[in-house]
């Protein structure tokens, strides 16, 4: 029996007096795709960012691919483990956050070279492969400012993949895109899921949730309200809050 690749236990997050994540648990198996939905302010982004410690959780443990970190432990070892987890978990942001002073290729090879100390030729070869995979070979030397939103997000995905992560975190990757550009990004994410990547995705893209997700979590006010396979949760939700939310967005 395979072990879960992500194990979250008793996760809490406070922003000052504001209790945003109220003790959630989650286990994700390798190759599993988990989609988190929920109203604005539910704490979805915060949860995701706690997974790679862009936000330091207030309490609980996070374990990714065997690297376990307890919240708020001081010291060097703690920081080393955060670096380790970040290399195992690639992240894609709503606002792309590409480095504007680097070309598409530059963006992709940056982390492998500086963090993994990968030789440049190897990093470039790998980056070209990834660019081809996201369908942007001809944009290799363009600066982000000359790419469309969809193209930028695809480069951002390639950039995260260049670190050869074990899992991928997506925080509303298509929300900042014009409707006609959403498709190209979703298509890349689907391919990624099909190739067996473990993914935790915060999105309102219901097609993706329905077609690709193995499990959907409805989150509200810092807790899991309901969790289940897509057809079950989307067509036949048990909780009143879930029903209201789905009625609202579908």
């Amino acid at each position: 029996m395979t072990e879960p690749i992500i194990k979250v236990h008793g996760l809490h997050k406070y922003f000052g007096p504001l209790h945003v994540i109220k003790g959630v648990d989650l286990e994700v198996m390798p190759r599993e795709v988990v989609v988190i939905i929920g109203p604005s302010g539910a704490g979805k982004s915060t949860f995701l960012r706690c997974l790679n410690f862009l936000e330091e959780p207030s309490d609980g443990t996070v374990e990714i691919d065997g690297v376990e970190i307890r919240a708020r432990e001081p010291g060097r070892e703690h920081r080393r483990r955060i670096q380790e987890i970040r290399q195992k978990a690639g992240m894609v942001f709503q606002q792309f956050n590409l480095f504007p002073h680097m070309t598409a290729l530059g963006n992709i090879i940056e982390a492998p070279i500086t963090v993994k100390k990968m030789p440049e030729e190897k990093a470039i070869a790998k980056a070209e492969e990834l660019l081809a995979w996201v369908g942007l070979s001809e944009k290799r030397d363009e600066y982000p400012s000359r790419l469309s939103g969809g193209q930028q997000q695809r480069v951002a995905i390639a950039r995260a993949l260049a670190m050869e992560p074990k899992i991928m975190l997506f925080d509303e990757p298509t929300s900042a895109l014009d409707p006609e550009l959403i498709g190209e990004v979703v298509e890349v994410m689907e391919r990624l899921a099909n190739e067996g990547m473990t993914m935790v995705v915060v999105t309102h893209e219901m097609h993706f949730a329905r077609d690709v997700a193995d499990r959907i979590i409805f989150m509200d006010e810092g807790v899991w309200v309901e969790m289940g396979p897509p057809d079950e949760l989307l067509t036949n939700p048990k909780e009143e809050r879930t029903k209201r939310f789905l009625a609202h967005i579908l």
């Binding site: 670096q83 480095f99 504007p100 963090v115 600066y143 995260a160 670190m163």
Partner: protein, 722 residues
């Protein structure tokens, strides 16, 4: 304006003709200006530089030898009536009267000594008659002349360095002394004719005139005295004169020193650094009470012989004062200069009382002004003619007005100035006919332009649609606007140049010393570059400290910024250079300057860096961290390059400001551009010229760097959205 007239003409023939006329006129003006400055023959205003000048004992006659080979003789008593004596075939380098003013002697670069009978000359009328006698050497130019009081003996110095003593009666050369080892530039004869003195390099030799026996050798200061650093050391003797009483010898040198020697004791009686440039002539008054000296610093100075007390400064010449003499008494002073003027000064009030020029004509000042105008308006005219052709239209009379005002101005004013001369209108016309011709020509041009056929509306032959026509019209408007802007710049330059010339801007001096002043430019650049490098490092550290949450770092940085910003840069420079030695830290001036500028600008630039770093969004940090990059990697690879791009334009501005502020380090003896300009200007009394060079250099540098900064900015912004 008759719109229909031109509407069927693509480019009216009248218009074409106008362009050609303007171009032609402009071309001619330009040619005139160029040939004037190149020393060409066409000069609407000419004078001949005075080389030497003599005044008769009664103070009534002034004789001036000039470059054009003529001697001009003015009769002061007779309203400065002028005679021209022609005889020399080269520049006249020396003139002298005997004490009774019955004979006038002159020498020239043609190697001749001419002896004139004053009575004959005066009675011969304006042509001046012939020389009474001509003595000649075959050995080349004669450079200086001295005459004994009774006219019985002459002494000359030739370019060959030989001192010749002549007997004017027989025409024989009694003695030919030399040449010595060094160049001889000055000769003097005692009034009784017994002694002849000549400057021989740095020394002065005195011989018995008739026998050539060497009597004295005045060499610096008397033995045993401290001579190092005394005035006149190591300078060449350029002027000499015996006092009428025979007790003293005065000498002037190329370093501007005036010395009075006690001949008996062979000793310097007194010395003064009298002039800021070479002394050209020294002369005693009849009672041996006063001494006059003239110099290449454009001034005449008067001294009391006993004690060497300064007794008057006379300024007004527009160039080197080549020669000076006393008039009827010690308070009447007459000087001649390379500007071609002879001036009479009131010694009591130190004022100019009379001014005459060596040739009737336009004043030399207006001559150069005119040439400058011609040069400038010629350029302007060519530009405008080209513009008219390009734009195919004439909408603004203003541009031609601009073009014509200049020449008109420079024609009318000099003409008016000729009324200062007591000459008839026929003579005046004879001098000024080229100007009048030009004037008529310009009036014609302006009148022609006013003609309706010329004033056609805008034409765009190739434009088919209305939109195209409008576009073309706008473009032509832009071109015209650009032309006007260009013309205005040019106009200002011409005006400035002319005005400065009017006040005696010494172009030759500027040309001569340009390399010296520019020699400081390298240092200016070096200091600025070094200081900006230091400032950049300090600013980066300061900004990081300011942004950190470490209270110590934050405090130190805040203190530094507050202290530096709260005190004047000049005070900081003095602290680095003058105050630190008191703490046992002595810095080289250059280093002190770089540190002061760098530390100062560092404080100001801290804010720039802080703003630059803060401008980088949180998303960039998060993206980098999510990829596993450490904080320092994130800063180096992601934040810094982007922040740099933001701060480079302001740093460029700081660098440009720094180049200008670097002038302040001239205060602590760093020999950069400003220091050199200041030093040279002070020494030569030529502050206008030297600081003009310095200012021009800073200006040009600023323009050049602004250009490159613009390029850099575009380069750095290559990732930005266009």
């Amino acid at each position: 304006m008759d719109i229909s007239t031109g509407s069927h003409l693509p480019l009216s023939r009248a218009m074409k003709l106008l362009c050609l006329l303007v171009a032609l006129t402009a071309g001619l003006s330009l040619l005139y200006g160029i040939q004037y400055y190149a020393g060409g023959p066409l000069r609407l205003a000419v004078t001949s530089p005075v080389y030497d000048l003599a005044v008769s004992g009664d103070g009534n006659l002034v004789a001036a030898g000039a470059q054009d080979g003529a001697i001009r003789l003015w009769n002061i008593a007779n309203g400065w009536n002028m005679l021209t004596l022609a005889g020399h075939t080269g520049p006249v380098t020396g003139v002298a009267f005997d004490s009774s003013a019955s004979t006038l002697f002159s020498v020239g670069q043609d190697g001749k000594v001419l002896i004139w009978d004053v009575q004959t000359v005066l009675s011969a009328g304006s042509t001046g008659g012939q020389a009474k006698k001509v003595l000649a050497t075959a050995d080349g130019p004669l450079n200086s002349l001295a005459v004994a009081a009774n006219g019985s003996l002459l002494a000359t110095i030739g370019k060959d360095g030989i001192v010749r003593v002549w007997d004017p009666e027989s025409g024989q050369v009694l003695q030919a002394i030399g040449p010595g080892e060094s160049t001889k530039l000055a000769v003097a004869l005692s009034h009784d004719g017994t002694l002849v003195a000549a400057g021989d390099g740095e020394q002065i030799q005195i011989w018995e005139a008739r026998t050539g026996i060497s009597l004295h050798r005045l060499e610096g200061y008397v033995e045993g005295e401290e001579t190092e650093g005394q005035p006149g050391q190591g300078e060449k003797v350029t002027a000499l004169a015996f006092s009428p009483d025979g007790n003293y010898l005065a000498s002037g040198s190329d370093g501007g020193t005036v010395l009075i020697w006690d001949i008996e004791k062979s000793k310097v009686a007194w010395a003064t650094k009298g002039h800021l440039a070479s002394v050209t002539k020294v002369v005693f008054d009849a009672s041996s009470e006063y001494l006059l000296s003239s110099g290449a610093d454009n001034y005449v100075r008067r001294w009391r012989v006993s004690g060497g007390k300064f007794a008057g400064l006379f300024g007004g010449h527009l160039g080197t004062v080549t020669s000076v003499a006393f008039g009827a008494d010690a308070d009447t002073i007459i000087s001649g200069g390379s500007d071609g003027s002879v001036r009479l000064w009131d010694g009591v009030n130190q004022l100019e009382r009379h001014l005459v020029w060596t040739r009737l004509g336009l004043m030399p000042v207006w001559g150069t002004v005119l040439a400058a105008w011609m040069l400038g308006s010629g350029l302007l005219g060519l530009v405008l003619a080209w513009g008219l052709w390009r734009v195919h239209t004439w909408g603004h009379l203003g541009s031609l007005a601009l073009y014509t005002i200049g020449p008109l101005f420079s024609i009318v004013l000099p003409l008016l100035e000729t009324t200062a001369y007591p000459i008839s209108w026929s003579v005046r016309l004879n001098i000024a006919w080229p100007l009048i011709l030009l004037l008529v020509w310009y009036i014609f041009l302006v009148a022609y332009i006013r003609h309706d056929a010329i004033a056609i509306p805008y034409q765009a032959p190739e434009a088919t649609s209305l939109a195209e026509q409008l576009m073309a019209a706008r473009r032509s408007g832009n071109i015209r606007f650009g032309l006007f802007v260009m013309a205005t710049w040019l106009f200002i330059f011409i005006l400035l140049f002319s005005v400065l010339r009017r006040f005696g801007l010494d172009i030759a001096f500027m040309r001569k010393w340009l390399p010296f002043i520019m020699g400081g430019a390298g240092l200016t650049m070096f200091i600025s570059a070094a200081a900006i490098a230091l400032a950049t490092i300090l600013a980066l550290i300061g900004a990081l400290a300011r942004l950190s949450n470490n209270p110590a770092a934050n405090g130190i940085s805040g203190f530094y910024i507050s202290l530096i910003r709260g005190t004047p840069l000049l005070v900081q420079i003095f602290i680095w250079y003058l105050a630190l030695p008191q703490l046992g830290i002595t810095l080289e001036p250059k280093l002190a300057g770089i540190l002061a500028l760098g530390v100062n600008y560092g404080a100001y630039m801290t804010e720039i860096f802080r703003a630059g770093i803060q401008a980088i969004g949180i998303g960039q940090y998060e993206a980098a961290h999510a990829l596993g990059m450490s904080s320092s990697q994130t800063f180096r690879r992601i934040v810094m390059p982007q922040a740099l791009r933001i701060v480079i334009p302001p740093i460029g501005n700081e660098f440009i400001a720094m180049m200008k502020d670097s002038a302040l380090v001239s205060m602590i003896t760093v020999q950069e551009l400003t220091f050199r300009a200041q030093k040279l200007g002070r020494q030569n009394f030529r502050n206008l010229e030297t600081f003009l060079i310095a200012a021009a250099f800073y200006w040009i540098l600023t323009i050049v760097f602004q250009f490159f900064q613009g390029k850099l900015e575009t380069y750095m912004a290559r990732g930005e959205r266009r």
